[in-house]
């Protein structure tokens, strides 16, 4: 196992390096941040001073070299707009996004799997058909529109829940979290639901397909014949066997949810990393965009590694061998 992990780490370093090249050069080809930052009433002299101050007058490969040297020291550049280290800006907002993403995942898992398994066990009942129709809506409707609809219905018309923003936060192990207060939970509910809808639908469909396949297997018939209770059959034997595709998809999606909760964060004005990313792209705050994408790459790599490890726990037939590629 340890050799497997070492190999993976080495491969990941190559991925990170290639990614840094792509991102850095890609972001630097588009547009010019100076025009986004400078007050229009500044004259030519001020504009040139600003260009020099940001290091934009140096040739691009020199800028990249500085970036790599600093990155190895842990400094991913300073934001043009905030003049604070890009990494600090992202980490400041990470708890908010993680909170949102993890809540959405929990909703997707604890609502999606039971619904999917139910639909798989009783595929012809009316309830199952409703669930499946709902899941189609769930992944077809655009997140932006659904978010606005939630706000219109629950905040404006019914007035039950707040329309934007994050609630009161309290400190948990030094990180600001908002799910420990009532106010925080009320603010968290709609955005998390909005984000979760797509994943929930995927999970429902996967769970249902998996359940239908597994339910017809011989070992299930054998377990029933043995006299095991219904709940044990379902909760132990069916669940374990449908988990592999579910875990794969959830693993991939978790990375995506964390990195790209942009739409939900914009609609609900949730102070997370996604909102920071979209603002930085629009305003050409290149250091932040580059830093963010580097962190995202690392995150995806780590999550995928964890998913592979979980496989080997779930399914003893999968052994993490040193595959000679």
């Amino acid at each position: 196992m340890s050799v497997f992990i070492t190999r993976r780490v080495l491969q990941s370093l190559v991925v990170v390096f290639v990614m840094s090249l792509l991102v850095f050069f890609g972001v630097n080809i588009v547009g010019d941040p100076i025009d986004m930052l400078i007050n229009p009433e500044a004259d030519q002299e001020d504009i040139e001073a600003a260009i020099r101050a940001l290091g934009l007058d140096r040739p691009i490969h020199e800028q990249y070299w500085y970036f790599v040297v600093n990155a190895l020291k842990g400094d991913l550049g300073k934001s043009f707009i905030f003049a604070e280290p890009a990494l600090k800006l992202i980490l400041q907002r990470m708890p908010a996004t993680m909170e949102l993403a993890l809540t959405a995942m929990i909703m997707a898992i604890f609502v999606g799997i039971p619904l999917g398994v139910f639909a798989g066990l009783r595929p012809n009942s009316k309830i199952s058909k409703t669930i499946m129709a709902g899941s189609i809506l769930g992944f077809s409707l655009p997140t932006f529109w659904v978010g606005l609809m939630f706000i219109m219905i629950f905040a404006v018309m019914l007035g039950w829940l707040p329309s934007t923003g994050r609630g009161e936060t309290t400190s948990l192990f030094g990180i600001q979290v908002s799910f420990l207060t009532w106010d925080g939970l009320r603010h968290l509910l709609l955005p998390a639901l909005n984000l979760a809808l797509f994943k929930m639908s995927l999970v429902i469909r996967l769970a249902r397909a998996g359940t239908r396949e597994v339910a017809l297997q011989d070992y299930i018939k054998f377990a029933r014949a043995k006299g095991l209770s219904s709940s044990r059959v379902v909760l132990v034997h069916v669940m374990k066997n449908i988990m592999i595709p579910v875990v794969t998809v959830l693993g991939l999606e978790l990375g995506g949810v964390i990195a790209f909760a942009v739409v939900t964060e914009t609609v609900f004005a949730w102070p997370g990393m996604g909102k920071l990313l979209i603002d930085s792209i629009q305003l050409l705050d290149r250091p932040v965009v580059v830093a963010y994408l580097m962190i995202t790459v690392l995150m995806f790599i780590v999550i995928n590694l964890m998913v592979d490890v979980i496989y080997s726990i779930l399914d003893p037939r999968v052994r993490l061998k040193d595959v000679k590629s």
């Binding site: 588009v30 010019d32 930052l37 004259d43 030519q44 002299e45 001020d46 905030f82 004005a269 102070p271």
Partner: protein, 528 residues
Amino acid sequence: MRLLKLTVAALAAALVAVPATASAAGQLTIALASEPSSIDPHFHNLGPNNALARVMFDRLIMPDEKQRLRPGLAVSWKPIGDTTWEFKLREGVKFHDGSPFTADDVVFTFQRAPNVEGSPSSFGTYLKGKEVIRIDDYTVHIKTERPYPLMPNDMSTFSIVSRKHGEGAKTPDYNSGKATIGTGAYKFVEYLPGDRIVLKRNENYWGDKPEWTKVTLKAIKSGPSRVAALLAGDVDLIEQTPTPDIERLKKDPNLTLSQGISNRVIYLHLDHDRKASPFVEAKDGGEIANPLQDQRVRMAISQAINRDAIVSRVMEGIAIKAGQLLPEGFFGRSPNLKPVKYDPELAKRNLSEAGVGDGFKLTIHGPNDRYINDAKIAEAVAQMLTKVGIATDVVTMPRSVYFKRASRGGPNGTPEFSFILVGWGSGTGEASSPLKSLIHTYDKSRGFGASNRGRYSNEKVDTLIEDALATVDDGKRQDLLAEATEIAINDGAIIPLHYQVNTWAARKGIKYRARTDEATVATDVISE
């Protein structure tokens, strides 16, 4: 199972039962369209930052909602001699921590403001070339090399900070609140980046007693979300109401709308400089000597545009058609210029007289996310021009790409486009700002024409502008600026379209004193 159902029901009821967090009496929550990038008032010369700084810090001269100069921390000012201005400072003003405000703080501000580390766009623009001398605790003299009539305007742009707290403080100290001690109407309480900024009333403010005990500023970038927050009662006032929602909100009995004209003019800039302009072609696609260099063609373009239709259809009534660089009430405006009348027949006649009676091809370039309805305006202009024979294509792009290309995208860092839609807001509230930057001949060494993307060059206008910038007498300067504007507009230096109108929406009982500088400032929010 039953227990589970009961628990879920109880939880749902509890969540819903907590009342909505509407603002308590005396508290105000404002939804901004863009977040200030820092609490440091000198960090970035940017709209949202300046609007925020205005309530926590004061300036020597405070522009009111029509950008007229009012005494702030300076009670009076006058030129003494050719190159010196004397400012008498207000006595008895205390900073938020109780320490007194004196001339020493002004001297410190002059040193600090242009030298903030990492500033993307510093206040150096307004402070360079000026030397401040402390005469006594409440008098300063500001010297320049040449006569400088715009001294009061420049003094109305930046905030005064205290030497005691500002000495050695950097931008992060302001963001955390440690150094954020000003003389303004509201005190800093907390700043959660991306989330909110909280302020509380300064009970010892020297000016009009601030109305609100607590002010919370939230940034909600998405227009529809901002409107939804207002409708849901989560915020009391929003800025930059999206134009499609304005009609509907007007009819809502629970809301009040406040509208005001802005100092921003939306105009067209044409290529005056190149004989072979890259986006101008003959009707058949071949080369053509740039017709935009002929004054009659420029007049024809202005006459072909139906400004009333743009205001009523494209801007949905939320704009005022323009005939020059600044709307009514601003200094340096010409009383003789009116918006050009829509006259397509006259336009066609002008085009034939200029030798392009058959028309030609043109491409209009514009941003699509910078000004209100900018892409739609460009499309409307293109349609109107095509009707008189100038077949016009429209190319719009995000501002992050547009401005660079419009200013420096051509060979050798020259402007790339031939015919552009763009806007200009006069930060100083008078005509020398657009004249100097848009119309004066491009002159890098003297800092003129920095945004003159058409490279218009008229010696007579240049002389008038330069004279005005050195004329301290207000009456004479007004005439010089008005004359320069008249010559430039009649010559077609730029083609003004309309002035933007800004709309603030608030819950019933709150009105906003609409500001021409488009800023949303808590001290201008009044309860009825």
